[in-house]
Amino acid sequence: MIESQGLTKRLGGRVVVEDVSFRCEPGTVTGFLGPNGAGKTTTLRMLCGFSKPDAGHAQILGGDYRALPNPGRRVGILLDASAQHAGRRGREALAITADTIGVDPGRADQLLDIVGLDKEAAKKRVRQYSLGMRQRLGLANALIGQPEVLILDEPANGLDPQGMRWMRGLLRDFADRGGTVLLSSHLLGEVDAIADRLVIIGNGKIAAQGTRDELLSGTGTLVRSADDAALRTALDAGGIAVHPVEDGLIAEAEPAAVGRAALAGGVALTHLAPSEGAGLERLFFELTATAGQEAGA
């Protein structure tokens, strides 16, 4: 279990994380979503005791992370896949963690196998690793102590599509066995497919959180037609607000109401359904828009 209660962090006079509260329950995968610079890493660093919050507190498994006697056996952490000694061999990096937390060093070989690093890769020095290989090594390092909780910062960075699918399966299994997973990402697509719950952060503040369905309820209907201009007129006439998206229109109403308005306007629809992904994407951009503008400026 992970609990963030009002975590706040100021760096150089600027508030980078403000009053961030959320909970991650056992058996679930939580996606911590936000654009770059939104405060995701800072929040994760506070959860793991690397950074002292200016206000609020973090609890892992019911207590302070730093109070865990042997945290590597309870919590698996991957904050930065590049944070490994460049001159150390991959297997050796894992063996050191195994040695530190007191697990069988043979687990290093099992883990390398599981994360898909072969014998040759295990013998290479980390300097020669691609980012994807470092992520796999970092994941192996997080899992070596058979933890109950996983905290992963941008674990999908550098993974190819197969690698991402493999990781999704691995994290899903971990959660299904009762584990708690918190992973961050700046890409909606990465977490949307795996997370049971989403915590969306923008500009250091929680913009929204909940299950996918909760976040999507009331986000509208994706509707397409042969003639979108006519459809817009019809929906306007029905008093339904619309936003154009790439492949159609999002109407801020239930599908039934949208269908009636289209029928009244005599427009033939080619698609009518709750907005799902398109709605989630729009929600993500809306909630984090201010942060994006600042980053772009």
Binding site: D80, G145, R177
Partner: protein
């Protein structure tokens, strides 16, 4: 597949060992391993050994008979080892920052002073290994050169103790400089240049007396040369407070307070 996936955790495991705090002995062993499993560490250790052998060899080839006693060869070897040992100490401390392994190390052991204590202990173990090597090389040198002087094998226990102390403080000073700078290059440069610059200041007549108490270049040389008097030990103490304890205190304070990135 299931056998492999169960290994990965998720569910709370019943392993009794999982809530046992890693002991200081274990952490020290891990630090020693980290010091030797990279190329930089390996070559530095090898280089230290080679330097000791080289210095003793040169003394055997070119020295006068009184220089070739076991005591003198051992002292020369220790001084050669103490040239590179502080760099090992520096790297022990700084690699967590320069290589960013601190993100793993301090995640596994959140008590940072515990990690630093293990690093100090690991440094002392390496210093011990270096001493044993110096004893061996000096013994071989004494046998081979067989100087025609009385008591060629005499090594007073007090003097031996001083050389052990000399080696140990060199190593601890290295860790202290590494901790104070938290970056390898500046720490190494400072550990060589600062004492030299400081020593040069001591050439000023008005400062000469004071520097007898503050310049480790003077005070520690006594330790490697002869059995030190009480006053000389006092000077060793005050100079080490400045060059070893102060950077160590600054370093540990920084490490406890700093954000690990």
């Amino acid at each position: 597949m299931s056998a492999a996936t169960i290994e990965l955790g998720g569910a709370a495991s019943a392993d009794a060992g999982r809530d046992v705090r890693p002991g200081l002995g274990r952490l020290t062993r891990v630090e020693l391993r980290k010091m030797t499993d990279t190329r930089a560490g390996f070559w530095l250790l090898l280089g230290t050994g080679a330097l000791v052998a080289l210095v003793v060899l040169i003394t055997c080839l070119t020295g006068d008979p009184p220089d070739k006693t076991f005591r003198e060869l051992f002292s020369n070897g220790v001084q050669a080892a103490s040239f590179l040992l502080p760099i090992l100490g520096i790297l022990l401390a700084t690699s967590e920052w320069s290589q960013r392994t601190g993100l793993v190390t301090f995640a596994l052991v959140p008590d940072r002073l515990r990690v630093m204590t293990a690093k100090l202990l690991a440094g002392l173990v390496l210093a011990g290994v270096a001493l044993v090597l110096c004893l061996l090389v000096a013994a071989i040198g004494t046998i081979v050169s067989a100087p025609d002087v009385p008591n060629q094998w005499t090594l007073p226990i007090g003097f031996f103790g001083q050389l052990v102390f000399y080696t140990a403080v060199g190593m601890i000073t290295g860790v202290a400089f590494g901790a104070a700078f938290l970056a390898s290059a500046p720490a190494i440069v400072a550990s060589f240049l600062l004492p030299i610059a400081f020593g040069a200041l001591g050439e000023i007549n008005a400062l000469d007396k004071t520097f007898d108490w503050l310049d480790t270049g003077r005070t520690l040389t006594d330790l490697a040369d002869h059995l030190a008097s009480a006053t000389e030990w006092g000077r060793v103490g005050t100079s080490l407070a400045l060059w070893m304890l102060l950077p160590l205190a600054i370093g540990f304070w920084r490490i406890v307070r700093s954000e690990i990135r």
